[in-house]
Amino acid sequence: MGKLRIAAVILLLLLTGCKRDERVLEDLGMVQTSSYDLLENNKLKVVSCVPVIDPDSPVRRELLTAESDSIKEARLQFSRQTDLMVVSGQLREVLFGTTLAKAGIGGYTDTLLRDPSTALGVRVTVVEGDAGELLSKTYEPHSDTGSYITHLLEKESLGNSVPATTLYEFSRDYNDDGIDAVTPVVKNVGNKVTIDGIALFLMDKYVMKIPVEDGIIFALFRDDLKQGEATVNLGKQNGKPVIVMFSSLSSKRKVKVHKKGDGRFKVVISTSVQGSVLEYTGEEKLSAPGTRHKLEEEISKSITEKAEEMILQMQQEKTDALGIGRYVRNSLSYREWTSMNWREVYPRIEVDCHVKVIIKDYGKYS
């Protein structure tokens, strides 16, 4: 027993060695959201948002701003501006301004990944315009813009209209030779922040945006979906727009690659979509099986057209955000794949989209 006691005392005494790494919660400035912008003088503008814990304080957050050459240098500058100890262990969201995103963000995500206190679950988002400005603004009734954006994106990505891109996903697709990364885009619209679309990257550079209305169509061709909502515009009937609103969407995607010789490929992406119709503004009755069948075909045609147009645009920008390269790669031998420059081949491949739509139900009204 005596020895045990001595050992216990020794172990306890050893704990005093950790004094230097003591963290008192009240003294910590836990950065939750950071934004990065590229300035004209090629410096980096970093804005970080730290929640204020003091219940007596009238403000809920403290904004720290710095101009520096790197992310971590900015942290040292922050340290000189505040009485709190700035730590990045609670970082949830990083926002990149358009100029920086277009110049390439790979180096910055690498820095974030290197820091052992930053987790892979940090969200990566592109801001249309100046990210620091957006983060500094207060949007009533939200006391903290950072967590407002985080929650907004979290909720919207559940419906798959925008991707939920975390550092893990960004770095995974950025480092994969058969797919390019995507992130959501948000923008300031006066008194609200709104989701603007999906940013498509070429390597680490933001090259193209999918408007938010087409987000779900993009999602249908990028991956299998478990849930989602979409409205499809079927043109006009007697001067009135015909809209079908699909809810509880689920989809399965299949990609087939056909080799056509001399380095040409034909890729067929087939998606089968199931969903309930919640709104239909056309004149036919949904209860007639024939109408539903016709409607399914019309919806399928409309989605296919949009998707093919979207893919053509992507091919022009050379961004393979749907990950077609992964399937081409997996259909080739290692030697064929490595000797081919996928970036050059990609714009020339032929992509066919097939959409099969199934109306599961049409609500509780005929």
């Binding site: 172990l11 050893l14 060695g17 609670q90 987790a119 290692y334």
Partner: protein, 360 residues
Amino acid sequence: MQQKISPFHIAVLTYMAQAGMVLFTLPRSLADYFGTNGWLVLIPCFLLSAFNIWLISLVFRLGQGRSVFAILEQSVPKMLLYPLYFLLAGSWLIFGCMIGKKYVLVFQMLSFPSTNPMLFKLAIDVLAFLLLIKGIQGISKAATLFFWMTAWMILLLAWFIPSFRWERLTPFLLKGGHDQVKGSIEVYSAFLGYELTLFLFPHVKKNKKSIWAIHVGNLFLMLNYLSLSLICFGLFSLNQLKKLLYPVLDLLAYIQFPFIERLENLLYGFFLFLILITLVMYWWAAQLTVQRMMPKLNMKILLLILIFIAYGISFFAETLEQVNVWITNLGYAVTGIAFGLPTLLIMILLLQRKGGTTHG
């Protein structure tokens, strides 16, 4: 009579002695050295380790469960044996010590960046000392307890199944790697630890179950490694995995529950139990070997001296990079011992048997 260790406890002890720091870097090493589908390399490594365990089982059968030292000393003069003992004990002592130091350095990087790592090392060494003075019976019981405290963590892998994609594995077999020989030895070192079961012979029942238990422990380890690596290859893209120095830490950090985040700091603490048993088993083997050379020395004093020496040596490796170099080089030695020692013992036993029949 001394209580014998049951087959279940042998299996647990084998697994716990094997599972150590390599776990954290294994998926990365597989991706980096072997490229696409590198996880497949685990299978030949497992088969090789199973073959090595079969060699150990031959020693057990031919030697009728006698201790390794008894077999050696019957045929080889002590003058020749002592340098060998010295080498064995030295390799195991420092190997164990460096594994402990690596754990401490990673722990420090994660949670206590400015605390002196040697303080944590001291705390671990005190724990190891307390375990070692209880003898192998006590270590085995503690290992079983620690096993239940850590084995559940493999279930956390289920968290990643929704993000797993077979496409990321690619159909290519081991393409895009480099330095495969070095890589093989590094990956193989993930299996090391089973060779210490050589010293369990006097403490186990002399039947087939005891040997099977070693295989079961090794198989359990292999299944753990395989599921971990497969998940990593399907979750991360290959080039990403090559860049992640500690993919397992990133996996742990990615788990988010609504009520708690940054779970890895907590979970990393659990790994201490795995590391502690690995380290203790190597030191236990070192202690037995030195004890053989100095049978009169009090066991506790001997342990104190050994741990003191190990602690002193661990000062030499200051950075993670240096520790890695130590572990790689000692890994070669320990792998050599794992194959060499049973082979040597089998040769001696065969000679003894031949001598026995001619004399008899």
